[in-house]
């Protein structure tokens, strides 16, 4: 059975699907499009010949490829056919869907930077490496996003 960084495909799907889906949903604003993108990411992984040094390397690769495929998505004609977020994410409470709407107001790169920093715990340097940006650029985008989402990023904040 094929393994990547010592993990079999079942382990990879169980471990990383949530992260990749969250990144793709924030970019595409659509669960179905996000699933298509993550599916594409996994197929790209299956064709990958270069070995991964460790699980951190694997995770970083998956995140980077997901973000890049989201960028490709925006260049395609599929963008116009997305279903409104409220229809696909009815499992999120209405008041929390407002938070989603605010997140979607951010610029594409700001959304993924905020997610990688505040949810996944990556530093600005690690994010810069992942997204192939300059550290200063990541830092300034993070500051800007933090100002926009000030309230919801505070610990113990409620809607």
């Amino acid at each position: 059975m094929k393994k990547f960084a010592g993990l079999c495909v079942q382990e990879i799907v169980q471990t990383y699907s949530d992260t990749l889906i969250r990144i793709a949903v924030q970019q595409t604003k659509s669960m179905s499009e996000a699933e298509d993108i993550v599916q594409d990411v996994y197929m790209t992984l299956m064709k990958q010949k270069k070995p991964f040094e460790n699980v951190d390397h694997l995770k970083a690769w998956l995140i980077k490829v997901t973000f890049n495929k989201c960028k490709d998505y925006f260049k395609s004609s599929r963008v116009k056919k997305t279903v409104p977020i409220t229809e696909e994410m009815s499992f999120i409470a209405k008041e929390e869907q407002m938070i989603l709407s605010e997140i979607f107001e951010l610029h594409q790169e700001e959304r993924v930077i905020v997610y990688l920093h505040y949810y996944e715990g990556y530093t600005t340097a690690e994010i810069a490496n992942l997204l192939e940006m300059k550290v200063n650029t990541v830092g300034s985008k993070l500051r800007r996003a933090r100002m926009k989402l000030k309230l919801m990023l505070e610990e113990g904040s409620k809607v």
């Binding site: 799907v13 949903v25 996994y42 904040s157």
Partner: protein, 171 residues
């Protein structure tokens, strides 16, 4: 936990999606294995075929009965000039199955042995590739040579110095 994290936590891949992905990835891996094994089988098959062809060619090479008579021609310019009585002369009308015996148009039956000298020797002999000597005896070839034993039948040629079809020569 802040509101952002709370919302993000609620967005996740469904179990259906994960099952579907695991199944597709394993099917992809199986397909890759089948393609790889097919390539291996083709490669091995090609190698075996090449080996068989090589062996057959080698065996045929060793069993080849075609003799190039011109290979037996030895030109020795230091050999003394000799006067020869040409008593084998005519056009081949029939060639034996071994390719080294023939009948001339004058009825003479001639046998060429390992001792028979082929081609012209001596200080004035032309180079081997310029002599009128074809690789094989053929019907229609003009033969010139001599024998030291005219009483025997068939005649064993001592020397054959010409074996050439002037109408349709080959080298």
């Amino acid at each position: 936990m802040n509101a952002y994290k709370n919302v993000m936590k609620q967005i996740h891949a469904s179990e259906d999606f994960k099952r579907k992905m695991q199944k597709e990835m394993m099917e992809f891996e199986e397909k890759e294995k089948r393609v790889f094994m097919k390539k291996v089988r083709i490669s091995v098959g090609s190698l075996v075929a090449c080996a068989v062809i090589a062996v057959v060619a080698f065996v045929n090479l060793n069993n080849d009965t075609t003799v190039d008579l011109t290979e037996r021609i030895v030109v020795d310019h230091s050999a003394p000039a000799a006067s020869a009585v040409v008593n084998i002369e005519g056009v081949i009308t029939e060639v034996g199955e071994d390719g080294l015996s023939f009948t001339l148009d004058n009825g003479m039956e001639v046998v060429v042995t390992d001792e028979t000298k082929l081609g012209i020797d001596g200080p004035t002999a032309p180079p081997k590739e310029e002599q009128f000597f074809e690789p094989t005896f053929r019907v229609g070839n003009l033969i010139g040579g001599f024998t030291e034993d005219t009483s025997a039948a068939p005649i064993t040629a001592a020397v054959i110095y010409t074996n050439w079809n002037f109408e349709n020569p080959i080298r």
